[in-house]
C-alpha cells in the first residue's frame, strides 16, 4: 500500500522580470493522522509530512508546517515574484526522518 512519495511540482519555465508566478505542488503521501483505528481497534501511529519548504537559489522563499489535519496527498500552492533566473528547491520532511525533494529551473527574461 505504501509507495514512495513522489513529488509533483508545477512551475512555469519562463517568466518576465517582476512577474508574479504561482507554484503548485503535490506529493503522494497517506498523511496518517494518528487518529484512525485499524480493524483490531488499535490506533494507527501518526505518520505525516510535517514540513514543506521552498527556496530559490538557496534563499528561503516559503514554508509550511503541516499538521495531521492536512489531507492525504497534500497539495500546496503559493506565489513567487520572479526577479532573476535560477533554481527552486522544494523539500518535504516526513515524520520518519525521510526527505523528499524536487528541483525546478526558472528562466527570467
Amino acid at each position: 500500500m505504501t509507495t514512495k512519495p513522489t513529488p509533483r511540482v508545477r512551475v512555469p519555465a519562463k517568466a518576465a522580470a517582476g512577474e508574479l508566478i504561482e507554484i503548485k505542488t503535490l506529493i503522494s503521501h497517506e498523511m496518517e493522522s494518528g487518529q484512525r483505528k485499524d480493524a483490531q481497534g488499535k490506533t494507527i501511529p501518526r505518520k505525516i509530512i510535517n514540513k514543506f519548504s521552498a527556496s530559490f537559489n538557496g534563499k528561503p522563499v516559503f514554508s509550511a508546517d503541516w499538521h495531521p489535519a492536512i489531507s492525504a496527498n497534500p497539495y500546496q500552492s503559493f506565489f513567487f515574484k520572479a526577479t532573476e533566473s535560477g533554481e527552486f528547491t522544494f523539500v518535504w520532511k516526513d515524520d520518519d526522518g525521510s526527505e523528499y525533494s524536487s528541483k525546478n529551473k526558472l528562466t527570467v527574461g
Binding site: 508574479l20 493522522s33 484512525r36 522563499v61 509550511a64 508546517d65 499538521h67 495531521p68 489531507s71
Partner: protein
C-alpha cells in the same frame, strides 16, 4: 428514493447509530478541540496581543460535502516589501481532534501573501486564521464550514 447509499442499508445505519450511541456511554468521549483550545494555541504564540480584523481573505467552502478534502485558500493584503510583509499565517480548526491545521511562513520574495492547501475536517466547525505582519501587528479572520461527512475516519 432508494434507501441504499453506498452499501449502507437503513437497518445497518440504524444499528450502527445505536451501537455508536451505546459505545459513547461506555467509552470516554473522543476529545475534540474547541474555541478555547484554539485561543490557547494562539496565546502560546502571541500572548494577549490585540488582534485586528480585516486584511485577511480566508476562502473556504460554505458547505463541504467531504470532510477529508476541504480546500482552504488564504490571502493577506500586504505590499510584501522588505519593510512591510506578512511574516506568518496560522490556520486552526475548533472542531477537530487537534486544533492546528497549517502554519505558513512567507518572505518578501513571495510577492503575494497567498497560499492554498487542502485540509481534513471532522465536523461542522469554525476555521480561524491569524496573520502576523513584519511589524508585529496581528490580524484575525474566521469562517464557518458545514461538513456533511466528517473526515477523521474511525
Amino acid at each position: 428514493m432508494p434507501s441504499q447509499i453506498a452499501g449502507l442499508t437503513r437497518r445497518s445505519t440504524l444499528t450502527a447509530g445505536a451501537l455508536a450511541a451505546f459505545a459513547s456511554l461506555l467509552a470516554p468521549r473522543l476529545a475534540f478541540a474547541d474555541e478555547k483550545t484554539v485561543m490557547a494555541e494562539i496565546k502560546k504564540l502571541y500572548g494577549d496581543k490585540p488582534m485586528a480584523e480585516g486584511k485577511i481573505k480566508l476562502d473556504v467552502p460554505e458547505i463541504a460535502e467531504n470532510g477529508l478534502v476541504v480546500p482552504v485558500n488564504v490571502e493577506v493584503e500586504s505590499p510584501m516589501t522588505e519593510a512591510d510583509y506578512v511574516k506568518a499565517v496560522h490556520i486552526y480548526a475548533d472542531g477537530n481532534p487537534q486544533p492546528g491545521i497549517v502554519s505558513y511562513s512567507f518572505t518578501p520574495a513571495c510577492g503575494k501573501a497567498s497560499a492554498a492547501t487542502r485540509m481534513r475536517l471532522a465536523q461542522t466547525q469554525n476555521i480561524v486564521c491569524v496573520a502576523e505582519m513584519s511589524n508585529g501587528a496581528l490580524h484575525m479572520a474566521k469562517a464557518n464550514v458545514k461538513v456533511t461527512i466528517g473526515g477523521c475516519g474511525g
